[in-house]
């Protein structure tokens, strides 16, 4: 049976639950939870994928390995209350709420291309804030060079974590200049609403010039450090997944080509498109990697 958005619908349930907990009383939730973000010049003008596509085709192994597993099982994850522990080389370490990090008046809409390492792609209208604004709030200390991220580990709500598919909890990392780049955001919403659980609620990273697995979901920990953090996929298979994981049509995955991609939603005979260097964001980010051999630092 194909899963449709109308079948998923733990949405109203979880929205109601959130509203109940947050407000301390039952309220008609849905309208109050809409999110709006200011339009951004950094958005692409390509046509976004539908909400149904974006929310029913996910890699979120914490909920299972099939693309439809997250839509089916992510409703079990409780995202309110939620705290993000910011620590390491920062002036103001501590536990931050989602609203502290991404206040409503700071939200922007960022319509970004997403290129999965599996050679498919989408266009997604995220809502969020620049990661730089969050890091500035915590006060990055001068010696910090990298940012490490960690996903929630809660096997009783994240059924995929009960099997050692990956080394849980999921970890990712960025160089500080990548993290501070204006394209890099923490997203809390999608299509004018809060993030659905299967897309990494309540707060996730989006780095549009890197393969999708770098954009870690459901973040509970951000650590500033002076040494390069290990990311989950790199740790599992270093010959296939590097720390940088920049979209690069010239550097293939050892087991498949990255030269082209298939756009989800293009139909049975939609064909393939050429994959662009840095997923088409080269004008903005190529300078970050000047002088580096990207075939070696993949």
């Amino acid at each position: 049976m194909p899963l449709r958005w109308s079948d998923v619908t733990p949405k109203n349930d979880y929205l109601n639950r959130r509203a109940f907990i947050a407000a301390g009383l039952a309220v008609a939730a849905t309208p109050g939870w809409a999110l709006t973000g200011k339009p951004s010049a950094l958005s692409t003008d390509q046509k976004p994928n539908t909400l149904e596509e974006i929310t029913n085709y996910n890699n979120f192994y914490e909920f299972g390995m099939d693309k439809t597993d997250p839509a089916r099982h992510a409703g079990a994850m409780v995202t309110d209350p939620w705290a993000v522990e910011i620590g390491g080389m920062v002036d103001r370490p501590g536990s931050y709420g989602v609203d502290d990090l991404a206040p409503a008046n700071a939200l922007e809409e960022r319509i970004y291309r997403l290129r999965c390492v599996e050679a498919w792609s989408m266009v997604i209208p995220w809502i969020g804030v620049p990661l730089a604004s969050v890091l500035d709030r915590a006060g990055v200390q001068p010696g910090a060079k990298f940012v490490a991220f960690e996903t929630l580990y809660r096997p009783e709500q994240m059924r995929g974590q009960s099997r050692p598919i990956l080394d849980w909890p999921y970890k990712e990392g960025l160089r500080l200049d990548e993290a501070m780049h204006p394209l890099t955001i923490l997203a809390t919403g999608l299509y004018g609403d809060v993030l659905p659980n299967q897309n990494g609620a309540p707060i996730r990273l989006v780095v549009p010039w890197k393969y999708g697995f770098k954009s870690i979901k459901s973040i509970v920990k951000i650590t500033l450090t002076d040494s390069r953090p290990m990311s989950t996929w790199e740790q599992m298979q270093p010959s296939e997944y590097g720390f940088y994981a920049n979209v690069n049509p010239q550097v293939d995955h050892p087991r498949w080509s990255q030269a082209t991609e298939r756009r989800i939603g293009a139909g049975l005979f939609g064909g393939r498109e050429e994959t662009l260097m840095f997923n088409g964001y080269g004008d903005q980010v190529a300078s970050l990697y000047a002088g580096m051999d990207l075939a070696k630092d993949y």
Partner: protein, 207 residues
């Protein structure tokens, strides 16, 4: 019991197996036409065709061990099982070439010689192709029994390759294709472990 079962099996026309064996294809076409496939229908089409081919391959490999161990003979159906496997394998390759790769011939050729999962998959497909074109009575007569049998032993190579094709296409080490690979190795092992001559009354079975 065994005699009754074999008697019953003899009365089932081969055409019935073909009709039943094409039901998964009919369901797939129905889902494709009515929009019943998932968000990425190309992936679903490829996967369902590939899986069904594997199921028929395993069924055809099970015929001999089942006969040797239980005396129940599905031997009459084995050619059809093999050809059904090849039908689904062929459609699987076609879906990959036309829908997934959009007939980008150069890219396909580069990938087929470079990517292990495609080397395994295409290798297995070429073997199945050789078996399919020589599956008719005329080929059996022309080639002679010994040569024909030797050629058709290629299926022992093709079957494990098919599961390796599946395993190598995924990002993590997956359980399901590994279990199918184990099942194939058990079926091949049984041929060695339970040797001919068949203990059952072969004459009665083949009558």
């Amino acid at each position: 019991m065994r005699a009754a079962l074999n008697g019953g099996l003899r009365r089932i026309p081969i055409r019935a197996l073909w009709a039943g064996g094409l039901i998964p294809l009919a369901l797939l076409v129905w889902d494709a036409v009515t929009g019943g496939l998932g968000i990425d229908p190309i992936r679903d089409i490829e996967h369902r065709l590939g899986r069904t081919a594997l199921y028929f391959l395993i069924a055809s490999l099970a015929v001999t061990p089942v006969l040797r161990i239980t005396g129940v003979s599905f031997m009459r159906f084995r050619r059809a099982l093999g050809l059904l496997c090849f039908t689904y394998a062929g459609l699987h390759v076609l879906a990959w070439a036309v829908m997934d790769m959009a007939l980008l011939w150069a890219a396909m050729a580069r990938d087929v010689v470079k990517r292990p999962y495609l080397i395994f998959g295409m290798g297995a497909f070429l073997m199945l192709l050789a078996l399919a074109v020589t599956s008719n009575n005329l080929s059996m007569r022309r080639m002679g029994t010994v040569a024909w049998c030797r050629l058709h032993q290629l299926v022992y190579v093709a079957a494990p390759l098919v599961t390796m094709h599946w395993i190598w296409a995924l990002k993590t080490f997956p359980l399901e294709p590994a279990l199918w690979l184990a099942a194939i190795l058990v079926l091949l092992g049984l041929r060695v472990a339970v040797p001919r001559p068949i203990r059952w009354n072969v004459a009665a079975v083949q009558k």
